[in-house]
Subunit: 105 residues, 2 copies
Amino acid sequence: MHTVDDLSKVLKVLADPTRLTMLKQMQGGEQCACSFVDCFDISQPAISRHLKMMRQAGLLLERRDKQWIHYRLNETSPFYKIVVDLLDNIETVDASCDCETDCAI
Amino acid sequence: MHTVDDLSKVLKVLADPTRLTMLKQMQGGEQCACSFVDCFDISQPAISRHLKMMRQAGLLLERRDKQWIHYRLNETSPFYKIVVDLLDNIETVDASCDCETDCAI
DNA sequence: AGGTTATATAACGGATTTGTTATACAGATA
DNA sequence: TATCTGTATAACAAATCCGTTATATAACCT
């Protein structure tokens, strides 16, 4: 159970097509930040800020491996179920989003 | 099933504490616009615009009775289930929101 | 017709969002 | 150490959001 304020803050984070797509991709497993940079038609700093926003909302966890940072859904977030329920309502996203680097997965 | 763009547009409408509260109240049944005006600490035009935004998103239906307009959730919206599932995650809202007028209900 | 009440629209201002470019930092490698 | 790659931050601009006040419209009531 959440307050109106808490839920509306999370919905604000979710209410963006770029972030929704990123989340949908992470639903399929951990994603390297660089794969998002390759995948979307926006700059690397823009990607970085989208990731930061979701991380600060507690929606993401990160794992550093060498110079690469891998992001995944935070299954322990109090909003995790809400997020995946929403993602399950989205048509499968184009998977033509492969990382061009050596980030190993 | 929805597209990322369609879902993010609806989430943008939902991602506001005033609108979420209004929707939660309408989950309990039809509400007169005037009851929102009495209930929230914002101006009547602000209320009117929140209602318009939700109406335009297809989330609400309206019924005119004399000079009063009553709003309710649109159960035929393709997003209806998503909306109520989200509302069900919200703590019950303070019901001290009674219309001061003769709008009858 | 004239006044009152309920709701909608117009015009505007400040805050927030979301992109950009430039730059800094962290880690790997020659 | 110097440089390259991946990521984050700073500073800024355009667009959008959300409130305001003023005004218009619609329906009711003398």
